[in-house]
Symmetry: C2
């Protein structure tokens, strides 16, 4: 039994028309007409298949198919259908449509599953104008409050999130009732493009995700002394901007020194005050971000940063005020699911040579790459309520969040068949006993 690649690619193409802009990118964020059209298209597809549909409080779309009348919990496949501005056609869409394709393949082949099969398309996974990303998966796993949802408005149109979700079929008042518990799902599997170039650099089609990166962010305020840019001698300055610039370079250096593929550090947001060509900055703020595979690495980074920042403070007579604004632990994927996906991958994908494995910088188990996802995903939140696994598919040149995003047909096909077989194995191997 194989998935139907032609049908899957036809669906990918159809869905990609919603929000397609003149340059070929896709604009499809929550609140837009294109997002609504994409939803309607998905619902029609599901109805055509004869599946049952549920739209929850967060406007997540749940597509259900059940072959037997057992009371097992569902095995769920899915991802999201929204896109970043000017984004590509694979990020999110591939995970949802590969789920639908697997459902359709199993249905056509009349495979009797012991578990109901479910496909989910989450609401607003990407950074969006309502400023809550992974919104749908966070909402149903108890990580958002009603107050948060009710306070949010579209940055440009001003529409309330409440109204936008209502238009999409949701209902924020039902947030609590929609929350999933530990007994609501047997497993969650997400297929996603890698958004990095590990698979591309090694010319591999797919890999198992071992864990999803931890993310740590500090909001740093540098307090110096604003002064006249002409009359203040170089030796009398307490330039908050230069101190912040030096700190950002130290952050970069700290991450680079570890020489790890699963550690990155970024200062992407930076604001100088008073920001005038002829005034020495008295106050500069920035957000420092680390992504890391585990607590010991995070501590190692922070220890060095503490030391570097302390040195800058002493040297320049300025002061750093640091506030932790995000400290999200890495999310390890379920061991059992990782193993199943790994085994299914090794049946579909030819191994690299030992030399190529060695030089790739990746970790392999039985020749299957065990990747760390450096981006966040809906699977992070789902991993808190059910056994969760992810499979990554090669994205050419590692491109994502841009219109040039592209994944080859052969890689999509391998991912689809791996996932199809993983579902069959999970259906067989998951029992009430081994679920807890």
């Amino acid at each position: 039994m194989k998935i139907n690649l032609e049908r899957l690619e036809k669906n990918l193409k159809e869905l990609s028309q919603f929000g397609r802009n003149e340059e070929g990118g896709i604009d499809r964020s929550l609140g837009s007409e294109a997002e609504e059209e994409a939803r309607n298209w998905l619902l029609e597809k599901a109805l055509d298949m004869g599946a049952a549909i549920k739209i929850d409080a967060m406007a997540n779309i749940w597509i259900n198919w059940k072959t037997t009348n057992c009371d097992n919990r569902p095995i769920t496949l899915g991802s999201h259908h929204d896109a970043v501005p000017d984004g590509g056609m694979y990020d999110g869409a591939l995970g949802v449509l590969i789920g639908l394709e697997i459902m359709q393949t199993l249905k056509e082949n009349r495979v009797p599953l012991k578990h109901p099969l479910q496909v989910v398309s989450f609401t607003a996974e990407e950074p969006n104008p309502f400023n809550i990303s992974t919104m749908g998966s966070r909402g149903v796993t108890g990580k958002l409050t009603l107050e948060q949802l009710q306070a949010s408005r579209h940055l440009i149109t001003g529409e309330s999130l409440t109204a936008a979700l209502k238009r999409a079929g949701g209902n924020v008042q039902g947030l609590l009732k929609a929350q999933l518990g530990k007994n609501d799902m047997a497993a969650f599997l997400e297929c996603h493009i890698e958004q990095g170039r590990n698979l591309y650099d090694s010319q591999l089609s797919v890999g198992t995700v071992a864990k999803i990166t931890g993310i740590y962010r500090e909001f740093v305020t540098v307090i110096g002394e604003a002064n006249h840019a002409g009359t203040t001698l170089m030796s009398h300055r307490h330039d908050a901007f230069l101190a912040a610039a030096q700190a950002a370079l130290a952050v970069e250096e700290t991450a680079k020194a570890l020489k790890r593929r699963d550690v990155v550090a970024t200062v992407g947001w930076f604001e100088v005050s008073p920001n005038s060509a002829n005034i020495i900055s008295g106050n500069t703020k920035f957000i420092m971000e680390f992504r890391f595979p585990g607590e010991p690495v995070k501590q190692q980074l922070l220890q060095r940063i503490d030391k570097e920042f302390y040195g800058i403070e002493n040297n320049r007579g300025i002061c750093f005020h640091r506030e932790v604004i995000l400290d999200q632990a890495p999310a390890p994927m379920d061991e059992g699911i990782k193993k199943i996906i790994g085994e299914e991958i090794s049946k579909e994908q030819a191994p690299l040579s030992p030399a190529a494995e060695e030089s790739s910088g990746l970790e392999f188990i039985d020749h299957v790459p065990m990747l760390v996802s450096m981006a966040g995903h809906d699977a992070v939140h789902m991993s808190g309520i059910t056994k969760t696994g992810m499979i990554f598919v090669q994205s050419i040149e590692g491109k994502s969040h841009c219109r040039e995003e592209k994944t080859n047909s052969k890689d999509i096909e391998i991912a689809g068949n791996v996932l199809l077989n993983a579902v069959l194995r999970l259906d067989k191997e998951l029992t009430h006993e081994n679920l807890n």
Copy 2:
């Protein structure tokens, strides 16, 4: 003959009430009610003295007094009456009011001058919401176009500059007619607080200004590659922000390496794009500013900067686009006036010990400090049309552009008497012959 310190300080105090805010600072920029009140107060003072008043196209206030019916050109004293936001009571105001005090002293003593005496208070010298500083002096010395003036609007209120100048008694249509030629003035003298700590550090009251600093500014655009902050390996980044941070630190280092009191470099304006915590910056812009005493020093700075920037480009795979937006040559003060002010200073101010002179880092001629003004002044523009000189008065701790700005009475008195005697000498020594 001496100035009346008590009267001068009373006037300083009266003028400082216009725009005084709750914290004790002064808000008095062009367009504000306080600026209008300050103008009206000045005009009343002048009328009380029996002086003639002229308000020109740029709303500069000219106060004239003539003892004889000769056709000599006027000797002009002055500065400006506007203030930076939350500024102090000496910057600008001292130069205008010391001028008025000298006029009044000479008038009371019925001193017959061969030259008409004139006090000017220039419009909008400070950085202001219309975004044209030294506006009044630039306007009357032919450095602004009608188009520039007509295009400018108040950043907050939106009022056109045309309307604001009209309210102040000006008329932009008269710009060309108001422009001063090389034969319109015998000399211009400006007294100003130092806005630096050279005099304060050496505990001197006053100094002659030898020249006003050159200012060079480049608008630099750094073009890198925007990318995902999670999935882009440290070694694959072309971070425009980090390149700009490194460039700014190189600019600082370059200026510091010269170890000169008359060279400073500043990056005060800096803008990161897209400026998002989870996106590596693809584009960062900044303004780099140097202040320098002469062309060779400027070239020395630029040569090293070129080399540093080139190194960063190669290292990070980014690109600097550099545009010169200001290249204002240093303005040397008139030799004759410098000499007269210097001689008058040496009569009023005790010399430092040779050791103190040596360790001050300043240049002295006959024990009189020859200062480089590191800030721009109306005198820069006046030096293009007439013999121009400046005297600096100590500002405690070098403070300026802040409410803590303070100058001691004894220093004000010395400055006033030096300038009074300089006017008397100029009146005697300036003839038609030595003016060209």
